[in-house]
């Protein structure tokens, strides 16, 4: 009897709680940003508040804040609240939770590889009508950056802060060696080996380095004419056709000779950047998004060039797209913000000038501001020109799950000197399982 009543009370309580939970969910569908505004948005009449979540910290974050301020100053009826939500992966997690509880922001930045996770869940708004209002179509955007923008015929995201890996060169070192900027793998290997300076057993200058990332091995696989996924998206051709093996063997040989410095996983980007600015490495593979920061740090002749080719030039792309959530509250104001970003000189264009990301529309490329910047700092133009060779062969819903496996393979080969063939076979096995899901 006692046990029974306890059970009844418990069940009642849980259902009560569940009911409470449901009510709360519905009662709170006001935009999260209203809290930050002290709730004043509702009674100030016409003014609507929209949220913009992004992953830009540091100086890039300041550029976002400045951009949003320019918008707010020009639009008295709309207040955009920009919120830094952590790195790309953290932002994705928060967006998932927000979307699940109907609290998604109007506009958000999503790393290109994660876009499909959201389009697959059908939570993103179609942007064709938004762009139509201001006479823009998808053909106005730079083709190489449109890889992750369409889903079932709808335009669900637009490129925003996009970048590619590029080769950063310390030309002063090359001149000292009497060598030219490498354009293919063989030349790169020669330069990298020649640039090494050893002080006893300690290497004080390396030839080549790159951040710990899947980007660079993928770029090299594509330079060999390989792809990450096959057309039918069931397997990873590079693990069997010898191209993956060739890439890692090339890197391992350079590493064994002391010419390649492969950095530790944690914080690898800042480690290689400071090595480069301190003149401790001749050639750096790194994102175009770092050009601005490197320019400030270097005191030598710094140039950028295409990633060296093997059978072809090739580069993957990266960085973030922006999206609108379909069930967000103030979609119209969100649309106005999107239109402003893509068309006005004070919008994304100025942000791109401030940071070093790639221009995203043809109009931006032809604008006086960008042309002026390029004539002043020609190294920024290289990245844009390289877009001609931009292709992403890792597009699949399963990529976010496969990427950690790819990282494990990099770690096994680059840190633990494990057998390349066996490691790639293991990677293929997990990738095929994840692709089949």
């Amino acid at each position: 009897m006692k046990k029974l009543s306890l059970f009844i009370v418990l069940t009642l309580m849980i259902s009560l709680l569940a009911a409470c939970g449901g009510n709360n969910g519905k009662g709170n569908t006001t935009e999260p940003g209203s809290n930050a505004n002290g709730g004043s948005s509702s009674n100030s009449g016409d003014k609507v508040t929209i949220d913009f979540w992004h992953s830009m910290g540091g100086s890039n974050g300041e550029a976002i804040a400045a951009m949003v301020k320019r918008f707010n100053d020009a639009h008295p009826n709309i207040e955009v609240v920009e919120t830094f939500q952590g790195n790309y992966a953290e932002t994705v997690t928060k967006l998932q939770q927000a979307a699940a509880s109907n609290q998604a922001p109007e506009v958000a930045m999503i790393e290109r590889g994660f876009v499909e996770l959201f389009s697959d869940a059908e939570v993103l708004a179609d942007l064709v009508p938004v762009l139509e209002e201001v006479g823009v179509t998808k053909d106005d955007f730079v083709q190489g950056l449109m890889g992750d923008t369409e889903h079932d015929g709808a335009l669900i995201s637009l490129p925003f802060n996009r970048s590619t890996p590029i080769m950063h060169v310390n030309k002063t070192i090359l001149e000292e060696l009497g060598m030219d900027i490498p354009t293919n793998w063989d030349e790169l290997a020669e330069v990298a080996k020649a640039a090494v300076v050893k002080n006893g057993s300690e290497t004080t200058r390396y030839g080549l380095t790159m951040p710990y990332d899947t980007w660079y091995p993928i770029a090299m696989i594509q330079q060999l004419g390989g792809t990450v996924f096959d057309e039918s998206q069931t397997t990873t051709p590079f693990t069997t056709d010898g191209k993956g093996k060739q890439v890692f063997q090339y890197l391992k040989d350079l590493q064994a000779e002391g010419a390649l410095f492969y950095p530790p996983a944690a914080d690898s980007g800042s480690i290689v950047n400071s090595m480069f600015t301190e003149g401790k490495v001749a050639v750096l593979f790194q994102s175009t998004g770092t050009i601005g920061g490197l320019l400030k740090g270097v005191d030598f002749d710094y140039v950028t060039a295409y990633l060296p080719q093997n059978v072809q030039y090739s580069t993957p792309t990266g960085g973030g797209n922006i999206v609108m959530f379909d069930n967000a509250k103030n979609k119209e104001a969100g649309a106005t913000f999107m239109q402003w970003l893509m068309t006005e000189a004070a919008g994304a264009q100025q942000f791109i000038i401030d940071t070093g990301y790639l221009p995203i529309t043809h109009k931006m490329v032809e604008s006086n501001e960008i042309k002026e910047l390029w004539s002043k700092e020609p190294i920024r133009e290289t990245a844009y020109k390289q877009l001609e060779y931009a292709v992403d062969t890792n597009k699949d819903l399963a990529w976010p799950s496969i990427q950690p496996e790819f990282f494990s393979a990099i770690e096994a080969i680059m840190y633990d000197n494990e057998d390349i063939d066996a490691t790639l076979a293991k990677l293929q096995q997990s990738a095929e399982r994840l692709l089949a899901e």
Binding site: A18, A121, P404, E411
Partner: protein, 292 residues
């Protein structure tokens, strides 16, 4: 009469209601929800697209090599951390248990890492463990010892993390054991010394049994805590290199974005393992622990 009986039946439940609401919201509901998620291929953003897949997530989990690797790592981490911490903290506690100025200084010194945020600690140790420029290798080199790759090789990364965890946690446990030692009645020691008992005999026949409740407490708390290790892994290695420091909780964290059902299934397994461990501890050790 009837009224009285009803109220006397209901009253206790009313009394515990506030506490039960808290437990219901924050413990019972999440557990059931976790179990629910673990049986689905769940789409967080669009529940309509979720699929009930029965025990597939569990089958998948137990079929993957990486799960056993992660489980093994967690067990190794727990075993090593608990054992080293226990032995060292008992030794240090016995050493500093006499209440002198010098001992208080030592105690404060050992305790300090515990009050510093693990994030700062992890960052400082990461700098010191950096293989080419770090302080530790500099010291090793200057005294002519071979250097280590520390966090950057899968053969040393786990040991490095265990080292930092022990270093950070030990002060707290020393404090507990010192308090326990000081609580042991001096009359027992006097009786033992009258009997001419050796120091070692006094230690394991008197000291250890008398502080066994505290040791037992530490054992349970530490085992459960270590099994759920996350912060040091997240800060120092991100589970690498090559999964060598990946632990259960970090593994759950890694899978949360792309496959919440699978992550939930792992969470259920973690809960089960900790449940079993606690049960076994209480069963096996309860009668070996001396309560005054």
């Amino acid at each position: 009469m009837g009224k009285k009986r009803v109220s006397s039946v209901i009253r206790p439940y009313l009394m515990i209601l506030p506490a039960m609401i808290g437990i219901g919201v924050f413990v019972i509901y999440p557990i059931f929800y976790l179990a629910y998620l673990s049986l689905h291929k769940y789409n967080l953003m669009n529940p309509a697209k979720s699929k009930f897949i029965g025990l597939d997530n569990y089958a998948d989990l137990f079929a993957r090599d990486e799960f056993y690797k992660v489980l093994g790592n967690t067990a190794l981490y727990t075993f090593a951390t608990v054992l080293i911490t226990l032995v060292l903290s008992v030794a240090i506690a016995v050493w500093v248990s006499k209440n002198t100025k010098f001992n208080q200084f030592i105690q404060a010194g050992i305790f300090t890492p515990h009050i510093v945020s693990i994030v700062s600690i992890a960052l400082v140790w990461m700098w010191m463990m950096e293989p080419s420029l770090g302080f530790l290798n500099y010291i090793l080199k200057s005294v002519g010892l071979p250097t280590s790759q520390w966090l950057q090789s899968s053969s040393t990364a786990m040991a490095s993390i265990i080292f930092v965890s022990v270093w950070q946690g030990i002060g707290y446990y020393v404090l507990i054991i010192v308090a326990a030692l000081q609580g042991v009645s001096p009359s027992i020691y006097e009786a033992a010394s009258l009997d001419n008992a050796s120091k070692w005999k006094i230690f394991y026949k008197i000291t250890l049994p008398m502080i066994s409740p505290q040791l037992f407490f530490i054992l349970i708390i530490m085992t459960i805590g270590s099994f759920k290790v996350f912060d040091t892994v997240r800060m120092m290695t991100l589970g690498g290199p090559n999964n060598s420091t990946n632990t259960l909780v970090y593994y759950i964290y890694q899978n949360r974005t792309t496959n919440i059902g699978y992550a939930s299934a792992t969470g259920m397994v973690l809960m089960l393992v900790i449940g079993i461990l606690t049960f076994v501890y209480f069963r096996m050790l309860a009668n070996k622990v001396h309560y005054q």
